[in-house]
């Protein structure tokens, strides 16, 4: 595997770094001391302490200590600066006279910083004050204070303008969008960068119908692999302006992670940093079910074979008899023609047969809740680091184990990271890192319109079902007469395999059968690494060469047992193997020159070559010959197999120039040219420029006052791109169904486009960063607009053309918005500090035009609702049928009293919220720290199929409307309705319709499935206690913290059926929900120590 050479190269480089460790001693003036927090006095690791005038710097070790060596002969006053992400920059003046100086520094907290250093595009470090665009940074601690398995989720509510949609499953995926979706059918998630290297963040697709690349299972977005424990800081480059240097990938912004390294670690022994967390998980919310009527139709139920052999015993709906504990009389007397004789009442001579025999017809209100176990998540991380003044190394090992809420579900992640760097000589330095990650997920629940999703099974359910009985009885005795009866009624069932115990044999295996016998196994093995060498030509010019690679393999297997009912009633398997990689080779030349005493120029120029490779193999067996043997060879008939390969190359050259005048005016110009293999050969070159300026008016105009301590305005303009996929320029024949093993081919359905261009986004933003009252109140505000044109659209075209879609460049989407971030410190005393961080953003989105006069493009569909881009309207409309209404808004019902479907589909809602925001309060009192965060969204809609079908099937609490007295009494009168046809047309509706008929009729409109998606969550809560120094010293550490933590503790929403924060996958078809798995509410403890 020639392509793995990078790994060995990285290892060799790393070895050189580790064993080279040259130590050069000098006897000059040293300045040393400790950097601590202003509240609590906690030592701070990783603080960059520098004497800018003397061009020397050092980083604090794990005890917060630094040591700075000043050039020989330095005397007089020297200004020291101390900078760390998450803290305001500190500055002190010391007097140097040749003797060693001892100087401690305290830093104030502040997540939104005016003065801090941030890592920007291409890994270039910049002072925040010089940036002409919005970029927000978080320290790594913010990501791990309350443990989460997904570093993307941790940005929720912490950065203005970022919207994260988490999946319910802790190991599942999170969709992140910055400043709104701008691409109609393309990528809308930002680029993810780790230590300057772009990494893959793809996620398995889930169509919600049990298909998609992994058949309904969510194995997480790939960026979740990065361990929060290894993150030193993260910067969100919010818009195209900030990310412009990434050219064709910059349209959606970028998230730039910087990992921890050994800088500042002790230079004797190995400094150990460790953390441990243990949390329990319980469902945050389950739908509100009704507990009055059991399985059946029209008030009748009698079990014979669970497949309509008895009275309605194949029904998976709850329109049956009242659950009043009766043991007989669940069916009516019959008329001579076989119809029920309602007048004669229930036939008390007939016992109420159920799936287990005769028993009381009674509710089991907790039958869904009981299915979910208390989950447990344990995570531990240990890191050792060592450094000298010229070299550093860090090794970290992390492990997370989760036993999920779903029976037999276990997930784990192992993470090993090694990084090091060395200053080989005055000119040469090198650094490298390798990170190996292994994810394992066993027996995950799925989210799909399939029985593999337990919550989908509970939508189509009999409310009388006692799930404990299902748990206690996984298999039926094949010889008992009851089983024989079931086999007669279910001739598809195989007797050469175990026969499952269930409450319904027409559609539903028992959920416990699914959990314990249907097994899934997923593994992801990933290697991430980079190596770089820098040659410092002189004190203003340096050259860096770098190579990085992200490589991973997914292996997914789902085994379906024989007699599984659905899917694969005869047993089957799906096996997916996927390999993905991205390799980047680049160089960067950096020049920094003081052109005059007032004007400084920084120039960066470089080039990059990027290779993306993808390969997937899928094998599927739809029917097993021998039960229990899950191999491709054990397929009855030919197994279906497929292979998909994709390659892409992009070459780039780029450069930026930054002019800094008197440290209060900064002007940035950038340009990038990309050449992409996915575009036509003669038109594959694209240029992306940007320009921006930052003006610190308080400094320039001397406006600093006691209430306005800092003020900056900034503005920028850019034009960037959005990538396209390989192979869009020409089409190939698709595989038809092979016949008796011989292949067949079918003409492509997508009309290719040999003139394709990438999408183009033009962004403008202006903003202000203001500090008031000695920076006790810091405000960052940005107004932006971005227009995306030349959208790459596989638009649907009339099938009569011979194709169903065509790839075109057309359409324009505009996003405009306002972001506000505030950091307020109402109280700051030596023992007590109260800090409030608010992030708020409003994005307005509009589809300005589509292709060739087309009014609507369907982004995706789910159960009769289309998620669309409609010309002239916000992106993300939910389109379906409403009830027909007259002009006064009355619902029109037919002559029987049932609402009638509107003539055409209309917009039912839109999935985008009006605004998103988060607020974090933290209180420090002596050794205690309490913090809690709320976040959420106002507005937006979600189409809930749980609601829509849960009403249809009569399981939800609101379907008691119309059957308050008995299943057929009093009936339901549609509120505010008039007759729309028949002789009573125009008159008020007075028809009582049976509840079952009314709710079944809701199949014809999706309006009854729409929810308001407004929600707020108490996302995080943490109460931490820092142990007294003597205690932590006694156990061998400088610093030890214990905390009680919680995540997803409370949900406030406008409805009580689902968690509105919901998604099948990270694609653009959002705002649809079905069989949502319960969100985990986590509560537990964490402990951490530092050397």
């Amino acid at each position: 595997m020639a392509d793995n050479r990078w790994f060995f190269r990285s290892l060799v480089t790393l070895g050189l770094v580790l064993f080279g460790l040259p130590v050069v001693a000098n006897a000059q003036t040293t300045v040393s001391g400790q950097v601590k927090t202003s509240v609590g006095g906690t030592p701070l690791v990783g603080v960059l302490v520098s004497a800018p005038a003397l061009k020397v710097s050092a980083t604090t070790d794990n005890g917060g200590n630094y040591s700075l060596t000043l050039p020989a002969g330095t005397t007089g006053n020297v200004t020291l600066k101390a900078q760390r992400i998450g803290y305001q920059t500190g500055s002190v003046q010391i007097a140097v006279s040749g003797a060693a100086v001892q100087q401690d520094i305290t830093l104030e907290e502040g997540a939104i910083e005016l003065q801090q250093v941030v890592v920007t595009a291409l890994g270039i470090e910049r002072e925040q004050r010089t940036l002409p665009y919005a970029a927000q940074s978080l320290s790594g601690d913010r990501l791990t204070d309350v443990p989460t398995t997904n570093v993307v989720s941790a940005l929720q509510g912490n950065v203005a303008g970022v919207q994260v949609t988490n999946s319910a499953n802790p190991f599942g995926s999170a969709r992140i969008v910055v400043r709104g979706a701008s691409s109609i059918l393309g990528q809308n998630q930002p680029l993810i960068i780790v230590d300057g290297i772009p990494i893959d963040n793809s996620a398995a697709s889930n169509t919600g119908y049990g298909s998609g690349s992994l058949g309904g299972y969510d194995v997480g977005n790939a960026a979740a692999d990065i361990s929060g424990d290894n993150i030193a800081s993260v910067t969100v480059l919010k818009g195209p302006n900030a990310a412009a240097l990434y050219g064709a990938r910059a349209a959606n912004g970028a998230i730039v992670y910087t990992t921890k390294n050994g800088k500042g670690a002790p230079n004797t022994g190995f400094g150990v940093t460790a953390s441990f967390g243990a949390t329990t998980e319980t469902p945050l919310r389950l739908p509100q079910y009704q507990n009055r009527y059991g399985q059946g139709f029209y008030g009748e139920f009698n079990f014979v074979d669970g497949n309509f052999g008895g009275k309605n015993d194949g029904a998976d709906e709850s329109w049956g008899p009242l659950m009043d504990g009766r043991t007989a009389g669940c069916v009516y007397h019959t008329l001579p023609n076989g119809d029920p004789d309602y007048a004669a009442g229930y036939d008390q001579s007939k016992p109420c047969n159920q799936f287990f025999g005769v028993g009381p017809w009674a509710a089991h209100p907790n039958n869904v809740r009981d299915f979910w176990q208390t989950g447990m998540m344990i995570n531990a991380n240990i890191a050792v680091a060592r450094s000298s003044d010229r070299s550093h190394v860090r090794l970290s090992v992390g492990r997370t184990n989760e036993s999920g809420m779903y029976p037999d579900n276990t997930n784990n992640r192992t993470d090993i990271a090694l990084s090091g760097g060395t200053q080989v000589s005055n000119h040469w330095s090198a650094e490298a890192s390798v990170n190996y990650i292994n994810d394992g997920m066993k027996n995950q629940p799925a989210q799909a319109y399939e029985e593999i999703d337990p919550m989908q099974g509970f939508i189509w359910f009999g409310r009388q079902v006692d799930t404990k009985l299902l748990k206690q009885n996984l298999y039926r005795d094949p010889n008992d007469p009851f089983t024989q009866q079931i086999l007669i009624g279910n001739p598809n069932m195989r007797t050469d395999a175990p026969i499952p115990y269930s409450w319904n044999y027409s559609y539903h295996p028992s959920p416990y059968w699914m959990a314990s016998v249907k097994t899934t196994d997923y593994a992801r093995n990933r290697g991430l690494g980079h190596a770089s060498v820098t040659y410092k030509v002189n004190d203003w010019l340096s050259v860096t060469g770098r190579m990085g690679r992200d490589w991973y393999q997914n292996q997914f297997r789902a085994n379906y047992p024989v007699n599984n009912i659905s899917p694969f009633y005869q047993g089957g398997l799906i096996d997916v193997g996927e390999t993905r990689s991205e390799t980047n080779s680049d160089f960067l030349i950096t020049a920094e020159r003081q052109l005059s005493s007032d004007l400084k120029l920084t120039i960066d120029g470089g080039g990059n070559q990027r290779k993306n490779d993808f390969n997937t193999n899928i094998g599927q067996v739809n029917e097993l010959v021998i039960p229990g043997v899950y191999t491709l060879a054990n397929s009855n008939g030919q197994p279906s197999t497929s292979l998909l390969i994709s390659h892409k190359r992009v070459n780039s050259l780029y450069g930026s120039a930054s002019f800094n005048y008197k440290d209060w005016l900064n002007v940035d110009v950038t340009g990038r040219n990309d050449w992409s293999s996915t575009l036509p050969e003669n038109a594959n070159s694209l240029f992306y420029p940007s320009i921006g300026a930052a003006f610190i008016f308080t400094d320039a105009l001397g406006l600093q006052t006691s209430w306005l301590s800092y003020g900056k305005i900034r503005a920028s303009w850019t034009r960037v791109g959005n990538d396209t996929d390989p192979y869009q320029l020409s089409a190939v024949y698709g595989a038809g169904t092979p016949w008796a093993g011989s292949p067949s081919f079918t003409a492509p359905d997508r009309l290719p486009n040999s003139f394709l261009k990438p999408e183009e986004t033009t962004g403008e933003e202006i903003g202000a960063d203001l500090g008031f009252l000695h920076d006790k109140l810091i405000l960052n505000a940005t107004v932006y607009q971005k227009n995306t044109t030349n959208q790459i659209l596989p638009v649907s075209i009339s099938g009569a053309t011979g194709y169903t879609s065509a790839v075109v460049n057309s359409g324009e989407v505009q996003n405009r918005g306002f972001e506000l971030a505030a950091n307020i410190t109402p109280v700051e005393k030596p023992d007590f500090r109260w800090n409030v961080i608010v992030n708020w953003a409003k994005n307005s989105n509009k589809v300005l035009s589509l292709y060739g006069g087309v009014q609507r493009i369907v982004v995706g569909s789910y159960w009769n609702v289309n998620v669309t881009a409609d010309s002239g309207q916000p992106y993300g409309n939910l389109v379906g049928y409403k009830w027909a209404r007259d002009n006064a808004g009355h619902i029109l019902v037919d002559s029987t009293g049932l609402p009638m479907q509107d003539a055409t589909q209309t917009v039912l809602g839109n999935y985008n919220p009006d605004w998103v925001g988060g607020i974090t309060n933290s209180f420090s009192y002596k050794r205690f720290n309490l913090s809690f965060s709320f976040d959420g969204q106002m507005g937006g809609q979600v189409y809930s199929v749980t609601k829509w079908f849960g009403q249809y099937s009569g399981v939800l609490s609101n379907t008691l409307a119309g059957r308050e007295t008995d299943w057929n009494s009093p009936g339901y009168i549609v509120p505010n309705a008039i007759y729309g046809n028949g002789p009573l047309s125009g008159q008020a509706d007075t028809s009582h319709v049976l509840a079952q008929d009314y709710w079944h009729n809701t199949f014809y409109a999706q309006e009854p499935g729409i929810f308001d998606a407004t929600y707020f969550k108490l996302r995080e809560l943490r109460l931490a206690y820092t142990l007294p120094a003597n205690v932590s010293h006694f156990i061998g550490f400088s610093d030890a913290v214990v905390a009680v933590v919680g995540r997803n503790l409370l949900l406030f929403a406008n409805q009580n059926q689902i968690d509105p924060e919901t998604a099948f996958d990270t694609g653009n078809r959002q705002g649809v929900e079905n069989g949502q798995l319960p969100t985990a509410r986590s509560i537990g403890i964490t402990m951490s120590v530092r050397p």
């Binding site: 309509f308 194949g314 659905s566 050259l653 192979y727 320029l729 020409s730 092979p738 011979g802």
Partner: protein, 490 residues
């Protein structure tokens, strides 16, 4: 080594090298071109599977409305409520018609007459099903995606003319010497490379289409029928156009596949009662006995069409579709059978369009149908001997004879629901009555849906043209299913 890092494109100082990606964007996942023998298996499977499959056309469309079957769960279409997304086979455009068109074009490019001829027959068959279901369709402007994204609609009459012309050409260009440019036994799943049979199918399809026009253009119908017969028809069941499915996945018949995981369709009471009253020996082939809990009471029973969910007898009293299809993976499914050809000939002879003994053809057609379903000659003789089966029973009028032919054809066309529905709409035999919960025509004999909707997407993707076609045909909307089509003559 260290300079290797610098050796990316810029360091090579050749900016043009940055744009050189030879071959990287060549798609390795499929062929850019394939010959017709590799396309034909897909065309045949898609055509048979779509026309006679489970959704929207046979079981949930024409066959349901011909009252062969009933929906036992989710009884929407049974009440004439068509679920959104349903059309009269619009998907055939890209799954069959486009592929067949490519066979024709490749046949022209390679001067391979048989590729062209088979392409034309398949294209004509698919088009005929679509136009009989939906009415006017894009034809002249269709299949030109490279240049024409908004095709106009041609009238059904124009399409019929084109199909007659197409089939005439197909029959005339067949090269019986075949050779290297024909089809092998494995690519031609219908006739295994026998080009003479393709010619017979071409003429038989032409005869079928001619008969469809009996109400609206008898003159054209007569001349096309005569020409078709002169060209040579399918003359034995071994020549029937059919796909015999295989016992193993993924080549099992669609009815069998569907019944493994779902149980949505039973027999219609109309059909079961009719066959019972005629003592038809094919009933045990078409239907299975029910699962009455009292074994001795088990019998053939259909569910009345057009009831609400849960109404009517419990489902174990309802017979399911015959084991020949529902329980047999390797069933045969017909595109055009010998027995149908005989019925078509009988009607043409009865109308005097061709020479021939209508009575004999009628009797032969029934016999061929019985034989096809494995009914014994003795049982066939008994059936034929029934007075109401005998050709003259209904009186010696032409109308009476045509009625007999139509009824017998309806019985024999089970599992070919689309063609059966076309014939029911043309002949109104049998005069079917919608069920009590039907959204129109409840209880009124003869009022069944007259068409299936156009593709919903046409209103978005080709709005002007579909709206013009809807207006030209007098439909209330593109999903109007009550308005009779041109070919019915009503």
């Amino acid at each position: 080594m260290r300079y290797k890092f610098l050796s990316v494109c810029a360091a090579l100082a050749a900016v043009t090298a940055c744009s050189d990606f030879a071959g990287v964007n060549d798609n390795p996942n499929g062929p850019t071109d394939v010959p017709p023998p590799s396309i034909l298996p897909s065309v045949i499977q898609n055509l048979v599977g779509t026309v006679n499959g489970v959704t929207s056309l046979n079981i949930r469309g024409g066959g349901l409305w011909s009252q062969y079957y009933s929906e036992i769960q989710y009884r929407d279409e049974d009440k004439f409520i068509v679920r959104s997304g349903t059309s009269g086979g619009w998907g055939l455009f890209n799954s069959v018609v486009e592929d067949a068109q490519r066979m024709i074009v490749k046949g022209e490019e390679s001067n391979a007459a048989n590729w062209r001829a088979v392409g034309r027959v398949m294209k004509s068959y698919a088009y005929s099903v679509m136009t009989d279901a939906m009415g006017d369709l894009p034809y002249t402007d269709a299949l030109k995606g490279d240049t024409l994204l908004h095709p106009t609609y041609d009238t059904q009459q124009t399409i019929y003319d084109s199909l007659f012309a197409n089939l005439t050409t197909a029959n005339s260009e067949i090269d019986l010497s075949g050779g290297a440019v024909g089809f092998s036994g494995t690519s031609d799943l219908v006739y295994h490379g026998n080009m003479a049979f393709w010619g017979k199918l071409s003429n038989s399809l032409r005869l079928r289409l001619a008969i469809h026009l009996s109400n609206v253009d008898p003159t054209k119908a007569a001349s096309e029928a005569a020409a078709a017969v002169a060209g040579g028809l399918i003359s034995a069941d071994s020549e029937s156009a059919k796909l015999t499915y295989l016992s193993s996945s993924p080549n099992r018949n669609p009815i069998y596949n569907d019944a493994r995981s779902r149980d949505d369709y039973g027999m219609s009471k109309t059909f079961v009662d009719s066959l019972t009253s005629w003592a038809d020996p094919r009933l045990p082939v078409f239907a299975q006995i029910n699962k009455d809990t009292i074994v001795a009471n088990r019998t053939y029973q259909g569910l009345p069409n057009g009831l609400n969910d849960g109404e009517g007898p419990a489902l174990f009293y309802i017979s399911r579709i015959g084991a020949r299809w529902r329980e047999t993976a390797a069933a045969r499914m017909d595109l055009l059978s010998y027995s149908e050809v005989l019925f078509l000939e009988a009607e043409a002879a009865e109308r005097g369009w061709i020479t021939g003994n209508a009575a004999q053809l009628y009797q032969n057609a029934i016999t061929a149908s019985m034989a096809m379903y494995g009914v014994s000659p003795a049982a066939t003789t008994t059936y034929l001997a029934q007075p109401k089966v005998a050709y003259d029973a209904a009186g010696a009028t032409q109308a009476g004879h045509l009625q007999q032919i139509a009824y017998q054809k309806w019985v024999s066309m089970f599992m070919q629901g689309m063609e059966a529905w076309t014939e029911v709409r043309r002949t109104r035999v049998p005069l079917l009555t919608p069920g009590p919960r039907a959204v129109f025509g409840a209880g009124v004999p003869g009022v069944i849906p007259e068409r299936l909707p156009y593709d919903d997407n046409e209103l978005v993707l080709n709005a002007n043209n579909v709206i013009a076609a809807v207006a030209a045909q007098g439909f209330a909307a593109s999903n109007d299913i009550q308005h009779p089509l041109w070919f019915t003559g009503r």
